[in-house]
């Protein structure tokens, strides 16, 4: 069957009304924080005042006597469950056991009739600590004789997502990843030009506006958890492990989620909430505040020492990098971030000699994990900064220099991985045109274009069920979570397109692990590509069944039927799917099931599922008096194969780029000693309305070159990754100042400009 092209689709490739739209604009959309169960109690957490300390004793007796208090949980009364979880490394106790590893770690949970009683009883929990020397940053953690964050090594989790073995030594190294091809030493020895530097990418907080929340009900029939989780099936896995339950006894339901951006990936507070319910024998709700969410997950901040070499013709010949990720107190997903950071530092370029050593390092700080961009953001900043630095050494235009080195579609950038499935030269040309790089720049302005390529899609294990009803309606059962990215709208469009029904007749049933089939995760930009393809295949499977039923009704062979939109034709007769179902079963209201599952075989055997492209351009204005950078122009490219919903792809790109702007210019979690200094929204500044660029172009590229439905591939992270490098490169163009540390705060820029002036003065004298 030939594939439809843009212009030939009925529902797909149109910006239809969002499935969740009316619910969200009327306030009727239900988020986990809005759910109340009958007889529900509330939990509040006592957190550690030290970054690293032994817990000598915990006395909860007085707290238990407080009005309304039902139970107090702490590391010494968790007998009967296995309190450790972790999909990559099973190192995370649901409450600190024996010692605390970061300031803010949950030490005890009080369950009470209402939130206030729980909160007020916290101060009656007596904990005695013996403070231990800690390691608060990477160098301290790697020093000889450094105190250990974890004295023991742990078993690997079942969803590591990559093959690198864990670190089995007792050290602060959580994960080491090594990547190498060619002969780097020889290539650097013969290079015409080399740039070298150390770059620092900050510790950032995703700020999903809905903080972590979950509600657990542990009873005789098993465990039910409502949560703001991105990956309900992996949460189910961890919960089954903690409580020794079969998978079918753990039900994880995810209603609407108030933002994720990676920060709600994997298991967070669900085991603790479930343990509270198990202890209290009541449904229990645990709602964190934003300040507590800031003590729960952040990104891995990164220090990257990197050098890149070119030959006389301006061809990249080698790149060597050492990446140190500050992973915080628990592994969470940082081992995979380490793997991805190593893979993604190559960029979308052809580089014959590469050597990368990447290390995720435990420290006594808030645990780091997934964050939109996922390693790519951390390494695209140094990689793309060096592209501009090299272009200058070669007296070549930075865009020209990139063009010369970009891998073409079908070319391998990474031995062993899928060849590049995008036309980056085309993408860059569009950005250049939209940015009008040929126009003269005003004084104090700078422009830059940068790009990235991320091995995306995660493990392609996805399944779905599509119900086709005799009244013409269709339901899609999906384990993908609706985080706002619009997955449920996209899946609905695909089902409507395939089954030939109006959009309104398709219902999407969201994740409930007791009802919806297995989906590995909602992240790595995979949903449209993998779940979308599964929905398409499930519809096609249903259509094959319907055709066979029609053949039986029409007393002919299935091959004689002509498939039409929403039915079949045979000679002068036409049967809609509704007719087929009603006649076949002889009853109204019947339904059939179409199924599909995807796994790592066939055209999905080779990873990544697709390369997610980032290609962005900016123009900035720098105020020399204050050091303030203003974004004047932004260009993004959504190279998504086919935009199932163009307006939502644009929305993802602008949202992602705006996050890049935040980290590029303002966002950084700051530690002073063991204390997080700006752990609240007053002091942690995220982009606002007034930061919006006056001119924005959100471009789409639809080459139908992905493995998703109709040639689609994912988006949503790509436009974040190159933005910080764009800003730093544009700052250089505007002022001649090269900053290798983010964010480019006014103070940092102002100091650098002053230093530059002082140097100039010295030269003049």
């Amino acid at each position: 069957m030939s594939r439809k092209k843009p212009g030939e689709f009925q529902v797909v490739n149109h910006s239809v009304a969002r499935e969740d739209g009316v619910a969200k604009v009327t306030g009727r959309a239900v988020y986990a924080s809005d759910i109340r169960l009958e007889g529900m109690a509330y939990a509040k957490l006592l957190r550690s005042p030290f970054a690293h300390a032994r817990i000598l004793s915990i006395d909860a007796s007085e707290a238990l006597r407080q009005p309304g208090v039902i139970a107090v949980l702490h590391g010494n009364n968790l007998q009967g469950i296995d309190p450790y979880y972790g999909h990559a490394v099973k190192d995370h106790p649901l409450l600190a056991i024996g010692k605390v590893r970061f300031l803010g770690e949950p030490v005890a949970a009080v369950v009470a009739e209402d939130e206030r009683s729980a909160y007020e009883a916290l101060e009656s929990v007596r904990v005695e600590y013996e403070e231990l020397p800690g390691v608060l940053e990477v160098d301290a953690a790697l020093a000889d004789g450094a105190p250990l964050v974890h004295e023991t090594s742990y078993a690997g989790g079942s969803f590591r997502g990559f093959d690198d073995p864990g670190s089995m030594k007792a050290s602060n190294i959580c994960q080491e990843v090594h990547l190498e091809w060619g002969d780097v030493a020889a290539a650097f020895a013969q290079a015409a030009q080399v740039v070298e530097g150390v770059y620092y990418f900050p510790m950032a907080y995703a700020y999903a506006m809905e903080a972590y929340v979950s509600i657990a009900d542990y009873n005789d029939s098993g465990l039910t958890v409502y949560s703001s989780a991105q990956h309900p099936f992996i949460v189910r896995h961890d919960l089954a492990g903690v409580f020794g339950l079969f998978l079918n006894r753990v039900r994880v339901v995810v209603p609407f989620v108030g933002g994720g951006y990676g920060s709600k990936s994997y298991t967070k507070i669900e085991p603790l909430t479930a343990a509270c319910s198990w202890k209290a024998k009541r449904p229990v709700k645990l709602q964190l505040s934003v300040a507590e969410a800031m003590l729960t997950t952040r990104n891995d901040d990164a220090r990257v020492r990197i050098r890149t070499a070119v030959d006389r013709e301006g061809r990249l010949v080698a790149r060597e990098a050492t990446i140190h990720l500050n992973t915080g107190a628990y592994a969470e997903n940082s081992p995979l971030v380490a793997r991805k950071a190593a893979n993604r530092i190559v960029g979308p370029y052809r580089i014959p000699n590469v050597k990368v050593d990447c290390c995720a390092i435990y420290t006594n700080t808030v645990p780091a994990s997934s964050f939109r961009g996922f390693g790519a953001t951390q390494v695209t900043f140094p990689g793309e900064s060096q592209m501009d630095e090299l272009a200058e050494k070669l007296s070549c235009h930075p865009v020209e220099f990139r063009r010369k080195n970009l891998a073409a579609r079908g070319e391998s950038i990474h031995p062993g991985l899928r060849p590049l499935d995008a036309d980056l030269a085309g993408d860059i040309a569009m950005v250049v045109q939209a940015l009008e790089t040929d126009k003269p720049l005003s004084k104090g302005h700078g422009r830059a274009v940068a790009c990235s390529a991320s091995d995306a899609g995660s493990d392609p294990v996805t399944s779905t069920i599509v119900h086709v009803y005799a009244d013409g309606s269709v339901s899609v059962m999906t384990g993908s979570t609706e985080l706002g990215q619009g997955s449920h709208t996209v899946l609905r469009q695909i089902a409507a397109e395939e089954m030939g029904v109006e959009l309104q007749k398709v219902r999407v049933i969201g994740p409930d692990t007791a009802v919806t089939p297995f989906e590995r995760s909602t992240g790595a930009s995979r949903t449209t590509t993998l779940m979308g393809r599964a929905v398409l295949e499930a519809c096609q499977e249903a259509i094959v069944q319907l055709r066979d039923m029609a053949a039986e009704i029409l007393k002919t062979a299935p091959e004689n039927l002509i498939l039409e939109r929403s039915g079949v034709a045979f000679q002068d007769r036409r049967l809609s799917w509704q007719d087929v179902l009603r006649t076949f079963f002889g009853l109204s209201d019947c339904s059939i099931i179409g199924r599909a599952y995807l796994r790592k075989v066939g055209d999905l055997a080779l990873l990544p599922v697709f390369w997610e492209i980032g290609c962005t351009g900016v123009e900035i204005a720098v105020d020399a008096e204050t050091g303030r950078i203003c974004l004047e122009r932004l260009v993004t490219v959504g190279d998504v194969g086919l935009a199932i919903h163009p307006a939502m792809v644009e929305g993802q790109d602008l949202g992602a780029a705006t996050m890049g702007l935040g980290i590029g210019l303002y966002e950084e979690l700051l530690y002073e000693g063991q204390q997080l200094l700006n752990g609240n929204l007053l002091d942690y500044r995220v982009p606002r309305f007034s930061d919006l660029a006056p001119k924005i172009d959100l471009l789409l590229v639809q080459n139908q070159d992905g493995r998703g439905p109709y040639g689609a591939k994912g988006g949503g992270e790509g436009s974040l990754n190159p933005i910080p490098a764009c800003l730093a490169n544009a700052l250089y163009q505007a002022t001649g100042v090269r900053l290798r540390r983010l964010p480019l705060t006014p103070e940092r820029v102002w100091r650098a400009l002053r230093e530059q002036r002082n140097k100039g003065d010295n030269v003049g004298h």
């Binding site: 604009v25 009327t26 306030g27 609407f256 933002g259 934003v290 007053l682």
Partner: protein, 160 residues
């Protein structure tokens, strides 16, 4: 203590604790969960609620302050119609993703347009800057408010 006010057009009388915020009273006692709580420090605007048509941050506004006043939440915005023009404009412009900031944004927009039915771009940004959205990058929200402004000025002409 007793608290009486007009909630979405209907008089209500409740027993509350003196320290309760308007957000707590509306979410927990009145079950109006369209009101969303995020930062709890008056920075994000997700809890924006109208008191006598003026926007307040319900997370830090004591419920008692609302005594005798008119309180409007997202649930009461459309006054019995299926959708208020601002809600329709948010739909048309895809001015939300996760939707967590959306009730607050829409109520903020309502207060803005009541005060200034014809805002310039400068007015818009000045008024909206206290509401955060982490998903959209803001432009669709500005477009939606502009669209709503024209819908509300010329309800007939603005319809396609």
């Amino acid at each position: 203590m007793k608290l009486a006010f007009v909630l979405n057009g209907k008089p209500v009388e409740l027993d509350i604790e003196p320290q309760e915020t308007l957000a707590e009273v509306l979410r927990n006692r009145c079950h109006l969960t369209g009101l969303k709580i995020s930062c709890e420090v008056q920075v994000c605007g997700s809890c924006t609620t109208l008191v006598d048509d003026l926007p307040v941050s319900a997370c830090t506004y004591l419920a008692y302050e609302a005594r005798g006043r008119r309180v409007t939440t997202i649930e009461g915005l459309s006054e019995g119609q299926p959708l208020h023009p601002i809600q329709q404009a948010f739909l048309d412009e895809f001015a939300f993703q996760c939707g967590f900031c959306t009730p607050g944004m829409i109520l903020m927009a309502k207060a803005l347009l009541l005060e200034n039915p014809n805002p310039t771009d400068f007015d818009l940004v000045a008024y909206t800057d206290g509401n955060l959205c982490r998903c959209t990058g803001y432009r669709p929200i500005l477009k939606a408010i502009r669209r709503a402004a024209s819908l509300m000025r010329e309800p007939e002409a603005a319809r396609p």
